[in-house]
Homo-oligomer: 244 residues x 2
Amino acid sequence: MKRFGACAVVIGNEVLTAKVEDQNGPLLIRRLRERGVPLRGVMVVPDEVDEIVEAVQWAKARAEHVFTSGGIGPTHDDVTVRSVALALGRDVVRMPEIERMVREHYGDKATPEALRLADAPAGTVLMRQPGVWYPVLSCEGIYLLPGVPQLFRLQLETVLSQLQGTPVVLRCLYLSLGEAEIAAVLDEIALAMPDVAIGSYPQFGKDVDYRVKVTVEHVDGTRTQAAMEALVARLPSAGILRQE
Amino acid sequence: MKRFGACAVVIGNEVLTAKVEDQNGPLLIRRLRERGVPLRGVMVVPDEVDEIVEAVQWAKARAEHVFTSGGIGPTHDDVTVRSVALALGRDVVRMPEIERMVREHYGDKATPEALRLADAPAGTVLMRQPGVWYPVLSCEGIYLLPGVPQLFRLQLETVLSQLQGTPVVLRCLYLSLGEAEIAAVLDEIALAMPDVAIGSYPQFGKDVDYRVKVTVEHVDGTRTQAAMEALVARLPSAGILRQE
């Protein structure tokens, strides 16, 4: 499998049990899109070592960059560090540099449990950012981000500032035709231009004036344009409400 | 692996590319919780056969009930039926009963592409609901739901009405202590009562009066209560703001 782009692993019983609606996944999706880093998939898994190991391996198999969210605090349900280490076949080691930061941050409250924050998979690199006391742990392209949304948001930007992306050129067609009527044309163009991503999204709400939105995208705008022209040439012109 | 509860597979390039924020996953999470069906995990994958096959197999390995969302229309990017069939080692067959419904629904617009809606994995059972023309396809505990939120919502209820659940009894403790200070107590009680799910959620916002919320849950309320009492007995009482 060719590895490219990013995957996300959201770790949290609180999400799966509807105690909290996940904000980190949706934020990551939007920010990766803006940075032009393709997202290959997202998994939401419970705070269980076996489940996280499998999710990280799934993510690592297809993406260059893996973002985990959650499970990196000092309590019993924080098992992300251990799980990522297992997934990579690495030991968990105490990082002296983080241990210093934890002792500084917690002062006389630096309990043995607080010091768990200084544990990381062997070979972890720290990504620091001014104004955030705890660094991002990064190991083999896996970024271990916290689950708390305010912290996730900050640390995500630390990572994104170091990634290279290629924004996509997107265009849309709004149609008064139904999907069944356009499927043959879409089939044909999707087959002839396999490098272009063509999506078809029906709408059934009363608050929209179209029946289907067709999206066309490519990192090369001339390919987006060529696919748009092919669609407009083949679809019945009376069915095209507008282009964007 | 013991199979229980549910998993979800959200299929949609539009979600991964931030064109649409997924509503189906969050709705499913809430409704399963309300019905008392535990959710083991969620995957969001692109409209690609290989990716969907792998996601369905992951879901099937751990859950009795698998909900897919998206990819069941008539266009080239609708590959869910084919992928689920592959994941189960079944053929795709045309279902005469659905073919009749499609012909009735579409009339003279029943193109060959529209008739793709009548294809399903061999052995599929139809779950019908008054007022919804298209039935839910159900095969070996996999429910193939549409991606369009209005339709997903309707069809989800058709399925949920037929599932048995056991609602969970949840209680919460709000603390003025930090996670590092309570981790040792939580560790000990989580270890002594492994059947009880204990969660610890720090808060850093200025709009809350607590530092950590501890959640305790079990399908048996007496176990929830026992764990709560153990926590309250062991945590410094000055740090407990309130119980809920």
